[in-house]
């Protein structure tokens, strides 16, 4: 076992919680299950690593870096929520975009990327029946690929969606170009959507969550224990509450919505607070950065609107999160002196 293989293995063993390590190693299949059962997973990670290493050496006399990277991928695919995932979008599809299939994609992608950069190691693994996982360790002319800080890419074949984890700006154009060519597209761009949970941003972008649309049937209101008051007022309140809830659900989805953590708005609009002539007459924009954050942003915003902490109808700025599938916006005025706003995407 060479030095790099050792280091990567050590990192995986350290990173995986002891409770899950057995399962991950079993899926990997390089160590017989019988021997795994004999391992004591409650000892220190240091001891555990030595045990795993010796088991690996006993069982497969030529355990290579490739095998260890596979182990890392197995764990990562099972636990993708470890940092920030960014969504990207492939655009300008070729006519034969629908015919791209896995084998062809694998060959093409590897070939294209190695054409662009000499020292790079790529590992591709199909997870379920839709997602393709790519692990890339980058190097350059003078350095071997850095296996300790790999980039992960998740792509759903025949769709324009790509999700990227830990990609430096230096390697971005290389990855984009290789992906664009391998998937038969014209270009690729940032979707301005990021989050900690891969599943959530994927479901969010692919709209696989429950959206609310107006129906002919009234939404059942949840029962509440409130002190009895004037029935008329109560009725009016209930009606308003129902209306707000409906609007909130239409804007932010209902039930089990994807978990987004933040939404950021860069405001470059003219000041239009009330009763301030000096600033209202100013030509230059009032520059501010607004960041909403919550453990589950869409649920919080929904509650904010339905509980009356925000005025209805929901402003397009907020409903754009779900409608455009983004959580980063740059807001400018549509031409100077015009009060209406337009969304301008950041370059």
């Amino acid at each position: 076992m060479d030095e790099t293989t050792r280091t990567v293995l050590q990192r995986v063993v350290r990173k995986v919680p002891a409770t899950r390590l057995r399962e991950v190693l079993r899926t990997w299949g390089r160590v017989p299950a019988r021997q795994l059962d004999l391992l004591d997973f409650s000892t220190s990670k240091f001891v555990l690593f030595e045990d795993v290493r010796s088991l690996c050496e006993v069982n497969s006399n030529r355990l290579t870096l490739k095998h260890v990277c596979e182990l890392e991928m197995i764990y990562f695919i099972g636990n993708p929520a470890q940092g920030v995932w960014r969504a990207c979008h492939l655009t300008e599809p070729d006519d034969d975009v629908m015919t791209v299939e896995l084998r062809q994609f694998k060959e093409q992608f590897k070939a294209r990327l190695t054409e662009l950069i000499s020292n790079v190691s790529v590992k591709i693994k199909k997870h379920d029946d839709e997602a393709v996982w790519i692990r890339i360790a980058w190097g350059d002319h003078f350095h071997r690929p850095n296996q300790l800080k790999p980039t992960y890419v998740v792509h759903h074949l025949q769709t324009p969606y790509v999700f990227v984890y830990n990609l430096s700006t230096k390697h971005k154009p290389l990855l984009y170009q290789a992906l664009v060519l391998a998937t038969r597209h014209g270009s690729m761009k940032d979707s301005h959507l990021s989050g900690k949970s891969l599943t959530s941003i994927r479901d969010f972008l692919m709209r696989s969550y429950q959206q609310a649309f107006p129906t002919k049937y009234a939404r059942p209101l949840q029962e509440k224990n409130t002190a009895p008051t004037n029935p008329n007022i109560e009725k009016e309140h209930a009606e308003q509450e129902e209306k707000r809830l409906q609007l909130a659900c239409e804007a932010f989805g209902e039930g089990n919505v994807p978990r987004l953590e933040t939404a950021t708005y860069k405001l470059e609009t003219r000041y239009r607070g009330s009763g301030n002539e000096t600033l209202n007459n100013r030509e230059e924009p009032f520059r501010a950065l607004i960041k909403f954050s919550s453990a589950n942003l869409l649920v919080s915003l929904n509650h904010c609107v339905s509980a009356g902490m925000a005025e209805t109808p929901v402003t397009p700025l907020l409903s754009s999160i779900t409608q455009k599938g983004k959580n980063y916006f740059v807001i400018t005025d549509k031409g100077s002196g015009n009060s209406s706003q337009s969304m301008v995407q950041k370059k």
């Binding site: 309140h237 708005y265 405001l267 609009t269 000041y271 239009r272 607070g273 009330s274 009763g275 301030n276 000096t278 600033l279 100013r282 009032f286 520059r287 501010a288 950065l289 607004i290 960041k291 909403f292 954050s293 919550s294 453990a295 589950n296 942003l297 649920v299 919080s300 915003l301 509650h303 904010c304 509980a307 009356g308 902490m309 925000a310 005025e311 209805t312 929901v314 402003t315 700025l317 907020l318 807001i331 706003q341």
Partner: protein, 345 residues
């Protein structure tokens, strides 16, 4: 577009989450024996940049601005003498050692002992009535320290009084020294021990000191006003709305734009070096209504939790960081006042 932020004080919506903008303008407080009425000031002196190094030992200044401080208030200290600091240092060291022996509170690594140093920071006090600031540093002596090793600072804290209310200070009985603001930084268990030592020694009481939204708004406006002299780099406000789960809204304003807004709400007749509460409230309303215009969310339904600029930051839960010493007096005046107001009997 009309924004509700500005009309809030006069008209209330059916369902209000907001706290009223103007908090109780006066408070009754007992000081030892005498009843006084303490007023929250409606005007303050505009901050003027002052090179504090001319008055205070620069080394001591760096001690004050380095850390994030957790605030508490302290009732007047009985028979505290600035001349006995050496004795206090020994006492407190012994006290901590005793506490450690009992195994009750202090247990920080492998240290064998602590060295406590009390010192006076001269020049922080602004008036003759203000007692001089006292700084306490606790260093640990590692078990296997070589002779040349520097001692590690494990805890620091200070007691201060800047522009303390003269009515209040005059009402104190003889033998009492008021240093109402206590700032601490370090492990909580040491803070507990230090507080209990003070309580035993000087018959005083400590209590946690949070900053209400008015205090935070004051700081926000005062810091913004400093911009022309001292770049604030950004003005950041953090609200938390009571949604389920809670929604944090961070609002960062370009420093120049924030200052222009502040400048536009300054009243003609107040340019004589004072700042009025009305101006502060207008400034906040101006920020909130710009936000409302975009997001239709009532920030007033939430709580202002944190205010920060490059000059310093302050949080609702009583954590304060002073990053620029030039405005030390302004900030400490405000905090001293909060401490005196918060104090019971």
């Amino acid at each position: 577009m009309e924004s509700p932020v500005t009309r809030l004080p006069t008209r209330r919506r059916t369902k209000s989450y907001g706290r009223s903008c103007f908090e109780a303008s006066s408070r009754f407080a007992y000081t030892s024996g005498q009843l006084t009425i303490l007023r929250i000031p409606t005007t303050r002196e505009a901050p003027r940049a002052r090179n504090i190094a001319e008055r205070v030992d620069p080394e001591q200044v760096t001690l004050l601005i380095k850390n994030e401080w957790k605030l508490s208030y302290v009732t007047p200290l009985y028979r505290f003498r600035h001349t006995h600091l050496k004795k206090y240092s020994k006492h407190l060291s012994a006290f901590i050692a005793a506490e450690k022996q009992q195994g009750t509170a202090v247990e920080v690594g492998l240290e064998t002992g602590y060295r406590v140093t009390f010192s006076t920071v001269l020049g922080i006090a602004e008036t003759d009535e203000d007692a001089e600031t006292v700084f306490i540093q606790i260093q640990s002596k590692p078990m296997f320290a070589a002779t040349g090793d520097a001692l590690k600072v494990v805890w620091s804290g200070w007691l201060t009084c800047v522009n303390g209310s003269p009515e209040y200070l005059h009402s104190l009985l003889p033998d009492f020294v008021s240093l109402p603001l206590f700032c601490s930084s370090g492990p909580e268990n040491i803070t507990v021990v230090v507080k209990s030592w003070f309580e035993k020694m000087f018959d005083c009481r400590f209590g946690s000191l949070g900053l209400d939204s008015t205090s935070l708004q004051w700081l926000c406006a005062l810091w913004t006003g400093c911009h022309p002299d001292n770049n604030i780099r950004y003005l950041r406000l953090l609200w938390t709305l009571p949604t389920q789960p809670p929604l944090d809204v961070s609002y960062t304003v370009n420093p120049q734009d924030a200052w222009e807004l502040w400048n536009s709400v300054r009243q003609e007749d107040s340019v004589d070096g004072t700042v009025g509460i009305d101006e502060v409230k207008h400034f906040m309303a101006g920020l909130e209504s710009h936000f409302f215009r975009h997001f239709k969310i009532y920030l007033s339904s939430g709580t202002l939790r944190k205010v920060s600029t490059a000059l310093g930051s302050a949080q609702q839960d009583g954590k304060v960081k002073i990053l620029c010493s030039d405005y030390l007096a302004t900030v400490l005046t405000l905090l001293t006042e909060c401490a005196i107001l918060k104090m019971p009997i």
